[in-house]
């Protein structure tokens, strides 16, 4: 594996020079333990909190009046809700991917970004999880989607992809949660021992569960962590596969495609890394952790984006090709409608955001210069949202019988809830940064030369 200490030509190291176990520990734990809170944080959190209030209001009104306050209709039965759901779930893929797959691939550079990437995953999945519930006509009956012994002797219908969704998403959330928590335990112990005031000590102490870094514990810990990674890897791939089934199982032209699973997964990673960068770039700036999240990390992430972006592009091409090649009038029309129909501008915007613009990442400057990378990442996030909009709305609005064609116009409530979840996501991120170590301290320690010496013996 590559030695992170030595700096290859032009490639930034995964950790800045001159750090010791101590300095790493202090630098990161201080972010959490120092008082008082920075004003920047307060402002940021304040704004996102207000947006959460908007979200709550919108949800209240939704439950009061019904989904009719949205733009959904017949034929377009799914609108923003499902678009946002898929978008958030996609974003929620980066975390587990980074912590699990990159761990198995022994990509040590992951150590400094996996922690907040995982947190980001949790929050994204939480946002995503809202939508399937909200978009129900009768949300208070959501529990009918779970198999529980009831007086009706009736069960969920396991042939429906929506039930698969329920299981996939809840499993994914649970596993990500425990994975993240396990990773936190040693760092919580560190905080417990650093904390000055009693409350912090007790809270962190309780969460650390009395971790004392025993060699035996570390041994079992590592095994469990590795196994979890091994389990999470197929899981993360399965989740978006299942989400793509929501569409692929349907007969709607534009949905009924076998290419969906791989191309959805790629898209998920694509948007996931975009979100990681959108978060990492400002964070490393404001908290001065450029030495832990170095250009190297940015560049690697950018490369992953470039790669997955190309897979996604391939997906689009194949989709179009199959539409044409199938010789099926409805499939053909689906393609024609994307290119010439009323939503054509959105389709072209999608192609630009997801395929054309990200090609700048071939140029090193764009991979390493934070600002550029930040903008490209935002563009990718937008693009991926558009992709889901095209898949959901444009496929539905003109399907088999011309008589039933329609249009979809989002209402202000659609927007309120979409933006609301973004606020919810941001608020959660702010809280996380403030009260938990955003970078895995103990894993960072293993990157130091001293740690490596043991092995080199």
């Amino acid at each position: 594996m590559d030695d992170p200490t030595q700096v290859e030509t032009g490639r930034a190291p995964v950790i800045g020079p001159g750090y010791t176990f101590g300095t790493i520990t202090d630098k990161i734990s201080s972010i959490v333990l120092t008082r008082p809170t920075s004003t920047g944080w307060l402002i940021g959190f304040g704004i996102s909190f207000l947006i959460v209030m908007v979200l709550l209001y919108a949800i209240g009104y939704l439950f009061l009046r019904g989904v009719g306050i949205w733009g959904v209709n017949i034929p377009v039965g799914w609108g923003f809700a499902i678009v946002n759901f898929v978008w958030w779930i996609g974003i929620g893929h980066a975390g587990t991917l980074i912590s699990a797959i990159l761990l198995l691939l022994r990509q040590s550079w992951r150590n400094s970004i996996n922690r907040f990437a995982e947190a980001m995953t949790l929050f994204a999945v939480a946002c995503a999880g809202l939508f399937p519930l909200l978009h129900l006509g009768r949300p208070w009956l959501f529990y009918w989607l779970f198999p529980y012994p009831n007086s009706m002797n009736y069960w969920p219908q396991f042939r429906s992809p929506l039930v698969w969704d329920v299981f996939a998403v809840s499993t994914y959330f649970t596993i990500s949660l425990v994975f993240w928590f396990i990773g936190l335990i040693p760092d919580l112990a560190t905080l417990r021992d650093r904390a000055q005031n009693r409350i912090a000590q007790i809270v962190y102490g309780m969460l650390a569960m009395g971790w004392r870094g025993s060699a035996r514990h570390w041994h079992r810990y590592e095994t469990a962590y590795l196994l979890l990674a091994g389990l999470a890897t197929p899981l993360v791939l399965s989740v978006h596969t299942v989400v793509s089934f929501d569409f692929a199982i349907g007969i709607v032209p534009g949905w009924h495609t076998t290419i969906f699973p791989p191309y959805f997964v790629a898209g998920a990673i694509y948007s996931g890394f975009a979100m990681v960068l959108v978060l990492a770039i400002p964070i490393r700036k404001f908290y001065g952790v450029e030495d832990f999240i170095t250009e190297r990390h940015l560049e690697n992430s950018a490369m992953v984006m470039l790669a997955t972006g190309l897979i996604v592009a391939y997906g689009y091409v194949m989709e179009g090709f199959m539409n044409w090649y199938s010789g099926n009038v409805y499939e053909n029309y689906n393609l024609w409608n994307r290119l010439h129909g009323p939503y054509a501008p959105w389709y072209y915007a999608l192609l630009f955001c997801n395929i054309v613009l990200p090609q700048v990442l071939w140029i090193r400057k764009f991979r390493t210069q934070p600002l550029w990378l930040f903008l490209v990442s935002l563009d990718v996030l937008l693009g991926m949202w558009l992709e889901r909009f095209i898949i959901v709305v444009v496929s539905l609005h003109r399907d088999f019988l011309n008589s039933s064609w329609g249009m979809y116009y989002p209402t202000r409530w659609d927007w309120a809830i979409f933006i609301g979840t973004i606020g919810m996501f941001a608020a959660a991120m702010f809280l996380f940064i403030r009260i938990l170590p955003m970078i895995s301290i103990f894993e960072l320690r293993t990157l130091l030369p001293e740690a490596e010496e043991v092995k080199s013996e």
Binding site: Y148, P149, N150, S151, M152, N153, Y154, R192, Q201, I202, G205, M206, M209, G210
Partner: protein, 231 residues
């Protein structure tokens, strides 16, 4: 330094592993609740304007069900007797009874008695008395020993699982048509065999199976289709 007292070890473990059991217990409680009389009113006597006793009228006087519930054989609705039906007899007997004043008043003023519905299915369930009665489902199979009920209550939970019990295995409950209104009918046993078309039955299942054939019942698949009860 030592932050926690020794006892916290036990406590914390107890809480973690205890939580699991707590959740399970709660779930169980909810499931029990939804089947409890609190929800189903099963075996719960309901307020009525007149304390009408089926025990007295059916058990005691042996009045046939159909005397009051006239449409039970040819309508989905068994029928609630009009005040007139009560008065038929009570213009002769108990004419002074204070208990019956509401009935007499109703008859005088022409204002109906307002009873409380006892066996009350949700409005999205369409039950039809006539077909059950005609296919050999006895009154007391669902309504219980009405002839021993001083005050009326619904005997069964009337929940879907209860309906399905029978729809999935009708043979468990069928009886000859002429026994449907017999409150004292007992399922065949070696002590009390039942005779049907000259054949003697000593156990319910064989009787039930023959009745299914005799009354050509629809298959279980048919009568467990959703649209059997829901429209």
């Amino acid at each position: 330094m030592q932050i926690f007292h020794r006892s916290t070890n036990t406590i914390s473990r107890a809480t973690i592993y205890g939580a699991a059991f707590l959740v399970a217990a709660l779930l169980w409680a909810v499931l029990e609740l939804q089947r409890s009389p609190y929800i189903t009113y099963a075996k719960v006597v309901r307020p009525q304007p007149v304390p009408f006793s089926h025990q007295h009228h059916v058990g005691g006087l042996g009045i046939d069900c159909r005397y009051c519930h006239t449409s039970v054989e040819n309508s989905k609705f068994a029928g609630i007797p009009p005040t007139k039906t009560c008065i038929n007899c009570h213009s002769q007997i108990w004419t002074g009874a204070a208990l019956l004043e509401p009935v007499r008043e109703s008859f005088r003023t022409g204002k109906s008695l307002v009873w409380t519905r006892v066996d009350d299915l949700p409005d999205f369930v369409y039950f039809d008395h006539s077909i059950h009665v005609n296919k050999g489902v006895g009154c007391n199979t669902c309504h219980g020993p009405v002839d021993r009920m001083p005050l009326m209550f619904n005997y069964a939970s009337l929940q879907m699982e209860w309906c399905l019990d029978c729809h999935r295995a009708p043979e468990k409950n069928l009886r000859p048509r002429d026994q449907v209104f017999n409150m004292r009918y007992e399922q065949p046993s070696s002590e009390k065999p039942v005779e049907l078309d000259g054949k003697i039955y000593t156990d319910q299942l064989s009787l039930g199976r023959d009745l299914i054939r005799k009354y050509n019942l629809r298959t279980v698949t048919d009568i467990t289709s959703c649209s059997t009860c829901h429209r």
